[in-house]
Amino acid sequence: MTTFSNSSVIPAKAGIQGRRSSGYPWMPAFAGMTLQVVHWCRAIRRIGIAHALIAVSAFISLAPAAHAADLPSLINALGQGSFADREKAIEALAATGDGRVALVLQALGDGDLYARKSDDAVFIVRKQGADLTLFDPVSNAEVATAAAGEIDRVKVNNRLRRAIEAALGSLTLMGPDPRVRRDAAEAVFKSRDPTAIAALDQALAAETDESVKAVLHQARAAALLGTDASEGDKLAAIAVIAGRGDRDALQLLQAVHDASAGPVQEAALVGVRSIERNLALWEAGQNVWYGLSLGSVLLLAAIGLAITFGVMGVINMAHGEMVMLGAYTTYVVQDVIRTSAPGLFDYSLAIALPLAFLVAGGVGLLIERGIIRWLYGRPLETLLATWGLSLVLQQAVRSIFGPSNREVGAPSWMSGAFEVGSLTVTYSRMWIIVFALIVFALLTLLLRKTGFGLHMRAVTQNRAMAGAMGIRTPWINALTFALGSGIAGIAGVALSQIDNVSPNLGQGYIIDSFMVVVFGGVGNLWGTLVGAATLGIVNKFLEPYAGAVLGKILVLVFIILFIQKRPRGLFALKGRAVEA
């Protein structure tokens, strides 16, 4: 009785939950790969689950349906008996292999299936206005309307819900959309339902998509391990699962290892070992990837700083605030687009890029003309003045936009993720790496191939000599500062995609950027690139062992020690001056 009273509460909730994630029960269990799940969710939402199911049923009902005659009675059985009886009824329905069953089971899971009190017939009920409309579960045609008192909801509990999901998994194996088929196969893989083997075999025979076929094979192997199949079959199944090589496979094989004996157990152990090795390798790959991602962020934040510091010997403590200005420019651009031209939203970043460059570059030019040029030859004072400036800029932004985080949306081409092996690659991270490299390449070109770049390099190497050769060093200073600030601005556009846009955005990057510049050395952009990538990767490799904070501390200590060895950084300019 307790279970009953318990379950009477759940369906109300299940109606909401079911619609969001119905048919995909493994989602909570899949915390490790949340992104992937989000991705699936999106895909599923796009298709529309009900739509897909109807399509499935239409597809399958073309096939001769031997069980068509007793289908209504099987469905009506759902409305009667205990939960155990209903579970049997669900299995019986799933065994028909009839696509129309999917719709009924879906409705049952969603709490939309009702039994009419007068004749115990089962209907799918949808609310239309004030009335409850009854639909025939087999033909999906409108039958009648009813008052709330005339019908009873067919109650489900968690056990039934699992049964429904397993049944749905095997039923959608034949769907027209490969993505749905693949998801269904994954569902079977996770449920390891031995009764699905027949459906899997049928699906395998019909399957044309290679990737779906592989998952079907894996699902079949998983299901097979739950039966009392021959030892040889089981060994083959273990090999198939070991080939899958992800965490789910690892879990499954471990369960098999614990439950079995003899050669099967040994094979499972071998499989577990190989998967663990495989996973370790992927983990290293993932660390490199995350490290590169962090490195690209550092590169974007530091590259403008490296230029100004290299040319002017001035540390711009307000550099982080230029990044912040860029991020806020993105926010403003998106805000304008949202209110006046929503269609342009996918281009918002492209529009924000030049604007952010102009805004931050313009502010940079003002700073140089207004403050920094009075402080040449006094780098420590410049450091203090720009720090004061960063406080003013932060407070100004806080006064205008408020202290809380502003939401910057991601255009469609930047959201989502794809998979490489067991590595989840989000598009935003990937594009930021690409973007950082493009910025780097353009800057290198600018420095190497243009007159302005030549002048800049000349001033970096020897200011007095460059001045004597007729280069207008104050002018170069101003333009360099504007350029560095502008690059910080476009870095802000990129960072707005992965970080909170708040007045404190810049402060989080300033010390890290300095570390990159100090580590990489000034006067050479390659130093910044190598420095950023190294620090990013080292940071991410330390994190699992030392934790995020301790990892960061270790990196700082490492840089301090490194400075001992090479006080001018990795790629130092060579020269004979006593004080560079």
Binding site: F309, G313, V314, I315, I371, R373, W374, L375, Y376, G377, R378, P379, L380, E381, T382, L383, L384, A385, W387, G388, L389, S390, L391, V392, L393, Q394, Q395, A396, S399, I511, F514, M515, V518, V549, L550, K552, I553, L556, V557, I559, I560, L561, I563, Q564, K565, P567, V578, E579
Partner: protein, 382 residues
């Protein structure tokens, strides 16, 4: 032998300054204790705590002026030395709580009991003794300064690089102290102190005594600093500040001079922190924030870099402005502070003391327009 050395640095200005500080240290607590609250000359207990805090800040500013003003080392990490001194004192005060904590554990401070620690970590041993804590107040910042300075000065890391390194050090320490498993109270730091040397820290009399101690510490710090900068050693320091390579080529071991003054300054900052903690009643990792350390530098810059007296004046003025503005116009404070950074570096390169010194003696004209001051160094540099 020490007394003549200390007294050598005293000129008229320094004497006046010392008298003012000691008078402040005597009269403020007296006016607080002796007069009834109704009297117009009564200083509230809040006022004592506030000015006591300023005195500690002044000592901290003095230590920064010693390295920056006289040796050209722009340390953006002095907040770390201050906080380390404060933590050493905080640990002693935590041990003094004994069984009066919430959990009543005689050995472990409350936050350790809360985190299920079974025994005191080794680095907490000895802090129940005041003399040991007092030693650590100077030693811990001193050792850190020695390590950082040893590595930095020996490999000739100077100027902006050095500033960034010191900032990174305090940033790293902040991250470390925010961790709960470091055993320093994590996020919340240490607070709820009960007594110091057997006296209740909250009591009016103890506060007055702490105030007086801060004033004495500031006066002593000033004596030591001015003795050093007026000695032969101080002349070398100034030489290092103005032309480091030249000093090195003249045969001075520049790194040892710098190292000595850096370590000494760190010890002073530690003492300031140790006096600060019982007066404000809390120490937490936000004291390590890089922004705090830069703020100290601006106190010195406002007062006048390389004048010692200026550092103290700057610390008092800026902190008073901060207390006033954060209370009255909180929106304005960061604008004001930021503007101060810019204005002082642009228009007041020698700070208030420099401005006052330049006014009556050198020029018959009234104070020069600020632009004139600003242009001169720029032209000189070009």
């Amino acid at each position: 032998m020490i007394a003549p050395f200390l007294l050598r640095g005293l000129d008229r200005r320094a004497c006046v300054f010392l008298v003012v500080i000691l008078a402040l240290g005597t009269f403020v607590p007296l006016l607080n204790l002796a007069l009834p609250p109704a009297s117009p000359f009564h200083v509230s207990t809040y006022g004592v705590a506030l000015v006591g805090k300023y005195l500690c800040y002044a000592l901290l500013a003095l230590s920064v002026d010693l390295v920056w003003g006289y040796c050209g080392i722009l340390s953006l990490g002095h907040g770390a030395f201050f906080a380390l001194g404060g933590y050493a004192m905080g640990m002693h005060l935590m041990r003094q709580i004994g069984t009066r904590g919430v959990y009543g554990n005689p050995e472990l401070p409350d936050f350790m009991v809360f985190l299920n620690w079974q025994e005191l970590p080794w680095y907490w041993y000895g802090f129940d003794q005041f003399w040991f804590a007092a030693l650590m107040v100077v030693l811990v910042p001193g050792i850190l300064a020695f390590l950082v300075g040893w590595f930095a000065f020996r490999s000739r890391v100077t100027g902006v690089y050095l500033s960034i390194i010191t900032q990174a050090v305090t940033f790293a320490l902040m991250l470390a102290f925010f961790r709960n498993d470091m055993g320093f109270g994590g996020n919340n730091g240490m607070t709820d102190f009960k007594d110091i040397l057997g006296f209740n820290v909250q009591a009016q009399g103890t506060r007055a005594a702490l105030f007086f101690a801060s004033a004495v510490a500031l006066a002593l710090g000033f004596l030591v600093a001015s003795a050093i900068v007026n000695s032969r050693f101080g002349k070398v320091l100034i030489g290092v500040r103005d032309a480091e390579s030249r000093a090195r080529f003249l045969g001075y071991r520049v790194e040892y001079y710098k190292l000595f003054v850096f370590v000494l300054s760190a010890g002073m900052a530690g003492v300031a922190g140790a006096l600060y903690v019982p007066q404000v009643g809390i120490i937490n990792p936000s004291e390590f924030a890089p922004a705090n350390s830069i703020e100290i530098v601006i106190w010195v810059a406002v007062g006048g870099r390389g004048t010692l007296v200026g550092a103290v004046i700057g610390a008092f003025l800026v902190n008073y402005a901060k207390t006033y503005l954060t209370g009255a116009l909180p929106e304005i404070w960061l604008f004001a502070l930021g503007g101060l950074f810019i204005a002082v570096t642009l228009f007041l390169p020698k700070g208030i003391v420099g401005l006052v010194a330049a006014m009556p003696l050198r020029r018959p004209k009234p104070a020069p327009p600020p632009e004139a001051v600003a242009v001169t160094p720029a032209q000189a540099a070009e």
